[in-house]
């Protein structure tokens, strides 16, 4: 290490003597060179990581639910066409500016996003191999979403998107009323965009498995009893909403999508 250090200093001194002060050409060449070196080490080298690509990652089934019904991707794929369209809505509406999709390996954080006794496990790079664009996020104005799949019922999500403050009074999330159709006094009905968005949100972390050291088996991080309890609580919350009319639109109204998700039909397809 000492030799390396001395060599680096010597190299630095040598380069220093060569620094082009008067030549626009050599200045440009130097500008290009320092850029390329950084590029190779920070973009190219990390990309050889097997776990960064679905083409080379091992044990993907434990990290992402594999759907077989996407005609664009024969075999298995991480998203159904509906979920993929939901990603586009997530992208268009800019959900990523307030919600991260990564639980860091910090105790407080893992417990904050836990459901019942199911501890929210930290993010793994293999969970993201199907994602373009990535939605890792940088700001938690709202909570992290990477472990939210299966936590709430679809109707809770519809009601929450329609008017977030009817589900969480202190929330500052925008109301996404344009994802709903409302005629006259009839309750709001989610559009296909909205249904796809919820279909995507329900995949987040859903079916992500952990290796259980006591049973020597892989199991879903979200225990079935925690999932059921959480969904029942969210259904109760939807049914408690009192409709309020605001001009022509409902300000608050429970929204039912007709695609009631119960804990039994949220079981991921065969792994």
């Amino acid at each position: 290490m000492t030799c390396l250090g001395i060599a680096l200093i010597a190299l630095g001194f040598f380069i220093w003597k060569q620094v082009p002060e008067k030549s626009a050409f050599w200045t440009s060449a130097g500008i290009w060179l320092v850029f390329t070196i950084g590029l190779i080490f920070t973009l190219l080298m990390p990309s050889f990581n097997n776990n960064w690509s679905y083409a080379s990652a091992d044990d993907l089934g434990h990290y992402h639910v594999q759907y077989t019904d996407n005609p664009k991707h024969p075999g298995v794929w991480g998203y159904t066409p509906s979920q993929e369209h939901g990603r586009l809505i997530y992208q268009r509406e800019g959900c990523v500016y307030c919600h991260t999709q990564q639980v860091r390996p910090l105790e407080g954080e893992m417990r904050l996003y836990s459901v019942g006794t199911s501890l929210a496990i930290p993010a793994d790079e293999r969970e993201y191999v199907y994602d373009t664009p990535h939605f890792l996020g940088t700001r938690r104005i709202g909570p992290d979403l990477s472990r939210v799949g299966g936590k709430y019922s679809n109707d809770w999500h519809y009601s929450h998107f329609y008017y977030p403050r009817q589900m969480v009074p202190e929330s500052i999330m925008p109301a996404f009323t344009w994802l709903f159709v409302q005629k006259g006094d009839a309750p709001p009905v989610p559009t296909q965009d909205c249904k796809d968005l919820v279909a995507y949100v329900q995949t987040l972390g859903f079916g992500r498995q952990i290796y259980d050291g006591t049973t020597h088996q892989w199991r879903s991080w979200l225990k079935p009893e925690d999932q059921q309890g959480s969904q029942e609580r969210s259904e109760t919350a939807v049914n408690r909403v009192v409709p309020i009319k605001n001009g022509k639109l409902w300000l608050a109204h429970p929204v039912h999508g007709g695609d009631q998700v119960s804990p039994t039909n949220l079981v991921p397809p065969s792994q």
């Binding site: 620094v19 002060e21 008067k22 626009a24 200045t27 500008i31 290009w32 320092v34 850029f35 950084g38 590029l39 080490f41 920070t42 973009l43 990309s47 776990n51 960064w52 690509s53 679905y54 664009k72 369209h85 586009l88 809505i89 992208q91 268009r92 800019g94 990523v96 500016y97 991260t100 990564q102 860091r104 390996p105 910090l106 407080g108 954080e109 417990r111 904050l112 930290p122 993010a123 793994d124 790079e125 993201y128 191999v129 199907y130 994602d131 373009t132 664009p133 990535h134 939605f135 890792l136 996020g137 940088t138 700001r139 969480v168 202190e170 929330s171 500052i172 925008p174 009323t177 344009w178």
Partner: protein
Amino acid sequence: MQPSGSAQPDKVVHEDVSVKWALWAGLFYLCVFGVFGVITAIKFMVPDLFWSIDYMSWSRIRPVHVQGMIFGWLVPCDIALFYYMIPRLCGVKLHSEKVGIVATILWTAGVLLATFCILNPVETTNLLWMTKGKEYEEYPPVANAMMFVAWALIVYNILATFAKRRYKQMYAALWYAMGCLLWTAFVFVIGNWPGQLIASSTGWDASFKGMNDANINWFYGHSLVGLIATPAGLAVAYYFLPKAANAPLYSHKLSLIGFWTLGAIYIWNGAHHMIYGPIPYWLQTTATIFSFLLFIPVFAVITNFFGTIRGEWHQLRTNVALKFIMAGTVFYLLVCIQGPTQALRALNAITHFTDWVIGHAHMALFGTFTFFAYAGVYYAIPRVYKKPLYSEGMAEWHFWLSFIGFILFSVALWVGGFMQGMQWQDPDHYSFVQTVTFMKPFWHVRAAGGVMMLIGMFLFTFNIYKTATVPAPVDTESNPALTDASGVAAAS
């Protein structure tokens, strides 16, 4: 060559038409995207503002504000100042004023189109026309193409000016300007590579998904500040600080060290945006180490600037351009102490994902580089129009509103953000939504600071507008103070 030291008679008559075009584009967008910024801040307290208007949704106007301030205001303004200072440093006229005008029109149209696409009132999910959905990369491919052509024209125009230069020795501001021009071109193409578009139309996509996508995103996000805004802002400051203070640059060698270490180190920092994230540990640690190495270029610049102003501090009382440059220098020092320390795992665990980072980012892009740009405009524009500044008093108000507004803004976010970060690590006492409620007072202070900054922007734009349009008083028409190297105060 130091810009103020050499008293060579400048026989070249600079037309400065390109300066004016790029400047007015920048000023227009400064006001527009400043308003968007304040709406963004107010929506934290009034989430139902513009309720049910899709294109005024918080999550759509937020990228419009951030991208618009960088590509709509900061880049055109810095380019306007390049058009001013590079011909003067090279001793020749700008290669082509026509190319300069075309580049500004194309760039400005690109920003306008991109803003429309992000606001997306037509609800499209066509990948050519919608946001790319990644922070700092939002501008859609069509707008990227327009802006890239504009940038190629700008680079061609300025390099052609370089090629004809009469002074062999290149002053520090020229290296930084060249760095900005070339790095921006590289970074812009890599960062805005339409991977999603290619993936959806060809299926050739494995390499642009997941963590690769995130890594490219943060390479770009960090380089946007480090290799576009920083060299541009420092080029401006390296030129206008000695000019406005009428003092020689402290050290030429130091600026050389600063420039080359900046170029060699900044690009390695992207991964520090994903500390504790799902990326390999070595990549995080590398980014942390290189974040600390950034102390070298930063202290080179800080030492140089404080050395230059040594003995000239009294000028700050009357010289608004100097006020902005030196306040910007202090903020540059602070932001570059914050940056590396935030990259430490222990601190990052608390501050990551909180409003702390918003305060930090604004200190770089507003507190430092926008302040440098303000200073450059206050110095250059009276000389471009050959008239004194319309109102020194208004410029004073602009400075103090920006300065105090920014302090309120950022301190509220740092204190609130840090405390919220602590609360997230204590789930026994705080649910998530309780920490949101806790932040509300801080968001009020932030919005108040933001409004002050916005009023400053309006005063600034009005002042420059009046400077350009009000006829010059007869006795100052041929005032030599406007063409020599003394400060703005001396000009009026």
